[in-house]
């Protein structure tokens, strides 16, 4: 219980009144998490743990994230999710190609934040202070680390209504630092949250926002 209360207290987006009420009403971590999720459905959510075995965890890492096709005079890269091997797959797709890139983020609802940063670095190159993270008590600037893979111009990024979170932030980074054209929908400026997955008990996790993410203007 104490661990999950501490995690919730670190979120700037959960009103103190809700925290106090959850603490007063609940004796278990699960009750506390359910109270938060009930009062803040747009911010906090509860995930069921499906108890995959370690074989599944290792093997799911082999699921591909990137599909590459040459379409006319451009390289079409579909980044469906930010899987374990997404960075390596992207580098492999970029290797030896000088064609302009079209990045397809349609249907990508986000994922691991650190992996997204590595992908952005591979596509854009080194950019200092590219992303600003606003925690409740401090701010942090994150760099993109270029890897020499980004030889090609990124001409456009495809998004749709399912493109969200880390994928949306990647689109904003490409628009800002690579002058990419955003195609499909206007790029919304709604807040993107950095979230933490906090284990409630054996069967449940609570996903909590802990900071907001935005592109730092060059």
């Amino acid at each position: 219980m104490a661990r999950i209360v501490k995690a919730a207290q670190a979120s700037p987006h959960i009103p103190k009144t809700v925290l106090d009420q959850a603490e007063a009403d609940c004796e278990t971590a699960l009750c506390f998490a359910e109270t938060l999720a009930k009062h803040l459905p747009d911010l906090a959510r509860i995930e069921a743990v499906d108890h995959p075995d370690t074989d599944s965890i290792r093997w799911v890492s082999t699921l591909p994230s990137v599909t590459a096709n040459v379409k006319g005079e451009r390289l079409h890269l579909e980044l469906g999710h930010f899987g374990r091997k997404a960075v390596g797959e992207l580098r492999q797709a970029l290797a030896g190609s000088s064609l302009p890139i079209e990045l397809d983020l349609r249907g990508n609802a986000g994922g691991d934040f650190e992996r997204m940063l590595r992908i952005a670095g591979a596509l854009i190159g080194t950019q200092h202070s590219a992303v600003k993270i606003d925690y409740w008590d401090r701010s942090e600037l994150r760099d993109l680390s270029g890897t020499g893979d980004q030889a090609s111009e990124i001409i456009r990024v495809l998004i749709d209504e399912d493109t969200a979170s880390a994928a949306l932030l990647l689109a904003r980074l490409l628009e800002t630092f690579a002058d990419a054209e955003i195609v499909g929908l206007p790029l919304q400026k709604t807040p993107i949250f950095l979230k933490r997955r906090v284990t409630i008990d054996h069967d449940w996790r609570l996903v909590l926002p802990v900071a907001t993410l935005r592109v730092a203007q060059p």
């Binding site: 499906d50 609802a109 691991d112 934040f113 284990t199 054996h202």
Partner: protein, 399 residues
């Protein structure tokens, strides 16, 4: 943290028959040998291999490098552990929610004990009289007495308990939780979780999507002197160094992507950790508590063994059916050894000369000469889907 203390009196439910006779009559893995007995003096010569699909444990004599017996156990055995003091073998039967306790002198079943859902990993206390079993599906840890062959306590409040480690006097049990960035510390006498040590920060997500897979803490690997514990947190790409006396994290190391767990070299100098996300291997010095090398690994690494006076590390790659070896003197890659089947885990003999690796796809055990780094024998007749290899006096582990 609450705990439930459930004394149970399950004892000796199954009286086992002579094992070799059973195996031979079923025609499953006929070794051609007669009834086999193991003495305490000879115990160190044997390797024990649980077979997931044939519900038995193969026993290999390392002097012959042949299977000499099979012991029947429950369904889908995952790991075995050996108590030299009691001359007993404990096998976790994941599909039966039980463990089988085998009398090693007669190779008969001494008892079958019902535990929680999906018992997988096993750790024997330093005194050899208590065995801890993680019921990964139930989120509990069972403590079982090898004197009475019964469950002493079932402790709740864990999060998919994975591998476990006792401290030097057996009073504390450190539990890696696959489902959290948390190491749980169990007071064995009280049979309750007394501390939770967070390992790194919870996973950073920017996601509106469905839940992703999650790899928390696989194990706490203690240094040879028992002072520090190394606990990798898969989702955080880091490893906590925990002071095992004060139960505090003194340092967090940044490793590669999706670190699996640390494996200690027998000389205590290094902790070797496969990073399955980016297929690298991190080598951490236990003296400086720094990563001193990050070397190329391979796909789906399931274990690390060391040998030849700790000059060589052998990393098992299940994804590529091979062993990747490293020279631990230069901290450079050495040879690769192709294997004829899918390797699971292995055990190196305490003299550091031979490595035995279970091959699940060919129902064999591969024998590697650790000096020449060559595959020198394929032991057949092991059983169906061998899952690991264990022996007394060695660095045993499970995946």
């Amino acid at each position: 943290m609450s705990s439930s203390f459930k004394l149970k009196s399950t004892t000796a439910l199954v009286a086992g028959g002579l094992v070799l006779g059973l195996a031979a009559s079923a025609g499953a893995h006929d070794t051609g040998a007669s009834h086999h007995h193991i003495t305490a003096e000879d115990l160190a010569h044997y390797i024990f291999v649980p077979n997931r699909a044939s519900a038995d444990v193969a026993i290999i004599d390392t002097r012959l490098d042949e299977v000499v017996a099979h012991a029947p156990v429950g369904q889908v055995p995952h790991q075995v552990a050996i108590s030299e003091d009691h001359m007993k073998m404990v096998t976790s039967n994941t599909a039966d929610d039980t463990i089988t306790i085998t009398d090693l002198t007669t190779l008969t079943t001494a008892g079958t004990v019902e535990l929680g859902h999906e018992p997988e990993h096993i750790e024997i206390s330093p005194g050899g009289d208590v065995v801890a079993i993680g019921n990964i599906g139930a989120g509990t840890v069972s403590l079982v007495s090898l004197e009475s062959d019964s469950e002493l306590a079932r402790i709740d409040g864990l999060y998919e308990p994975h591998n476990m480690t006792f401290n030097g006097d057996g009073s504390l049990l450190y539990v890696g939780n696959l489902g959290a960035n948390v190491v749980s510390v169990i007071d064995v006498a009280k049979a309750e979780v007394i501390e939770e040590i967070e390992v790194g920060a919870p996973q950073s997500l920017a996601s509106d999507g469905t839940p992703e897979t999650y790899q928390g803490v696989i194990n706490v690997t203690a240094t040879i002197d028992g002072r520090f514990g190394f606990a990798a947190y898969g989702e955080g790409d880091g490893m906590a160094v925990i002071d095992l006396d004060n139960l505090e994290t003194i340092k967090t190391l940044e490793l590669g992507d999706l670190p699996w767990r640390a494996y200690a070299t027998n000389d205590g100098r290094y902790m070797i950790t496969p990073n399955n996300g980016d297929e690298t291997v991190s080598i951490v010095s236990t003296a400086s508590l720094e990563e001193v090398a990050r070397l190329p690994g391979a796909a789906d690494m399931t274990g690390v063994n060391t040998g030849m006076f700790e000059t060589t590390a052998f990393v098992i790659s299940r994804g590529e059916n091979k062993l990747v070896t490293f020279d631990l003197q230069t901290l450079q890659p050495a040879d690769e050894i192709q294997l004829p089947g899918t390797p699971e885990t292995g055990v190196s003999t305490p003299d550091g000369k031979k490595l035995y690796v279970a091959l699940s796809s060919t129902d064999e055990v591969a024998v590697i000469d650790m000096e020449s780094r060559q595959l020198i024998k394929r032991i057949s007749g092991v059983g169906d889907e061998p899952w690991g290899a264990h022996m007394t006096g060695a660095m045993n582990y499970c995946h």
